[in-house]
């Protein structure tokens, strides 16, 4: 198992790429070197009153430069993510990572794949799209404003869904799949739970191998506190009950293994 690092990292650049969506490049000593697509980092604010980390997916990895990109949504005023958005080039923050298990790249090798991202689940799909060696159909769903579309275009065929119909198919990612009559042998997905539930049902119905990245409130991020569990089909070897830790055993799970 690769190591985890608690680092004070420097902000290389930060920009707002859509309404309330920020893109941040971080210079890391070790994390970028070990990270794989689908893993996340725990980001800590510089405000002593906020103790817990914000789990944020790795959006891009530049191993050569030792840099990581994260793309995140500011969830409101006076939140930790709002404090992240105030970070300027050269400033530092604490991060812990890389955490969790990434998307299984081998499983998709040479196959016809859906890479599905919804909302703030879109970012991890980018590094996946860059590294996955497959026939890539990238299906991304947004409420309204889109982001990262240019980068996706360089890594596969892109299909867009928007809730307000402002671009691509009006509706959700599965509507875009249907509208474009897409098919696949394997699915990778990250996004809100209702979306994942729909994808799981679709995968089951069509008997497709399917990997989902889940979300849960976290404290430790490393598997120690049992704060972030999801329900598992089988009795889990670690917990000895039907619970798996999203931070450590996930966040990516085989769809059939977990209850949503």
């Amino acid at each position: 198992m690769a190591g985890k690092y608690k680092e004070s990292v420097t902000v290389v650049s930060q920009e707002s790429i859509a309404e309330e969506i920020y893109s941040l490049w971080l210079q890391t000593a070790d994390i970028a070197e070990h990270a794989v697509p689908g893993q996340f980092i725990s980001m800590y604010t510089n405000d002593g009153s906020r103790l817990l980390p914000r789990p944020i997916s790795i959006c891009e990895i530049d191993r050569a430069k030792g840099q990581l990109r994260v793309v995140y949504r500011v969830t409101g005023p006076d939140t930790g993510t709002e404090q992240f958005a105030a970070l300027k080039q050269g400033e530092t923050i604490e991060v812990l990572g890389p955490l969790g298990n990434g998307f299984p790249l081998e499983a998709g090798k040479g196959r016809k794949a859906f890479l599905i991202g919804g909302g703030i689940g879109v970012p991890p799909i980018l590094e996946l799209a860059k590294q996955l060696d497959a026939e890539k159909q990238i299906v991304v769903g947004y409420r309204d404003t889109q982001f990262l579309l240019d980068e996706f275009g360089q890594n596969g065929a892109v299909f867009v869904a928007t809730e307000d119909g402002s671009a691509g198919t009006k509706g959700n990612v599965m509507d875009a799949v249907a509208a474009n009559e897409l098919t696949a042998d394997i699915i990778y997905a990250c996004g809100p739970t209702p979306m994942l539930r729909a994808i799981k049902a679709y995968a089951q119905e069509h008997d497709i191998e399917c990997y989902l990245s889940l979300e849960e409130k976290m404290a430790c991020g490393v598997g120690a506190c049992l704060g972030c569990v999801c329900q598992s089909r089988d009795k889990d070897a670690h917990s000895n009950v039907h619970n798996k830790r999203v931070c450590k055993d996930g966040p990516v799970f085989l769809a059939t293994e977990v209850e949503l």
Partner: protein, 300 residues
């Protein structure tokens, strides 16, 4: 300089340990911390059978603190003995097993099962909100505290630490009851019961509605209780509640704690425990303490 402390005959190389439930059985944090540097590792609470715990969300952030409602998820004593004890035996640290249960019998079963295991102390968590005895949590009633202590002692081969709840009018009553029941050591405080409402979702932040508040926010309350208990009973005390730095640890020791546990701080600083070990030594050098025992309860 001597940092060894004595808990009911068990000698710890230093007073720093982990707080139950925040450190698993040590494996996850062993990537960050050499467990052999710690006085002891206190494991997550373990019951006679596996417990699934509460639904999620189990975690919420509060100002300078957090709430948890894990609900004592644990793999049960069998898997624990098979996997977690052998893992910890690889390190040169003391092993303290935190025990939970729903009934007196549950507790006694675990304690009896552990009698044959190579662990150093048992910490009995009588402050978990799920555990009821006649409608009142064990830890909130002196008679119940005394009784469960006595029962557990009947089966125990290792010294017993009774872990007290802060959600009481007078913690010294509980401490005295545990002492009367034969406890060897006391640990305090467990979490304070709290609640958070998400005003945008208009719903509880935790699925369980209430949760236990921990972290620096509760430190002044914990220090007060440690001081009160240290001045009410003769037993050694393991102090905890919001310890994040060596300075915090020293504060508890000066108030009367023989040892300290670090919980929530691991989540924002995975090396908090070893840093506390080093920082306590630095403090002792700065203020010329030869033995940590000179510091215990110094401020009266």
């Amino acid at each position: 300089m001597n940092t060894t402390i004595n808990l009911a005959g068990v000698e710890l190389k230093n007073p720093v340990m982990t707080a139950s439930g925040t450190f698993g059985s040590g494996e996850e944090y062993s990537e960050f911390v050499d467990l052999s540097r710690l006085g002891a590792v206190v494991t997550k609470g373990v019951a006679n059978v596996p417990w699934p715990g509460n639904p999620t969300p189990r975690i919420a952030e509060t100002k300078c603190g957090m709430m948890n409602a894990i609900g004592l998820q644990n793999p049960g004593i069998d898997l624990f003995c098979e996997r977690d004890i052998p893992f910890l035996k690889k390190y040169d640290t003391k092993i303290i097993v935190n025990v939970c249960g729903r009934t007196k019998e549950d507790y006694c079963e675990v304690v009896e099962r552990l009698a044959g295991e190579d662990v150093d102390l048992l910490e009995i968590n009588i402050s978990c909100p799920n555990v009821k005895a006649g409608g009142i949590a064990f830890g909130q009633n002196p008679a119940a505290v005394e009784e469960i202590t006595k029962e557990v002692k009947k089966y125990a081969k290792q010294p017993i630490i009774m872990k007290l709840s802060p959600n009481v009018t007078d913690i010294t009553e509980m401490a005295k009851a545990a002492e009367a029941g034969g406890a060897d050591v006391l640990s305090l405080i467990n979490t304070l019961t709290g609640m958070k409402i998400d005003i945008h979702k208009q719903a509880f932040a935790l699925a369980n509605k209430t949760g236990g508040v921990s972290g620096p926010a509760i430190k002044p309350i914990a220090v007060r209780m440690v001081y009160q208990v240290a001045n009410a009973v003769k037993l050694p005390i393991i102090g905890m509640g919001g310890i994040a730095t060596a300075e915090d640890a020293v504060e508890f020791i000066l108030a009367g704690a023989t040892a300290v546990s670090i919980g929530t701080a691991n989540f924002f600083n995975p090396t908090a425990t070893v840093e506390a070990v080093e920082g306590i030594e630095a403090y002792m050098r700065q203020y010329h303490f030869d033995s940590i025992n000179e510091m215990i309860g110094l401020v009266k």
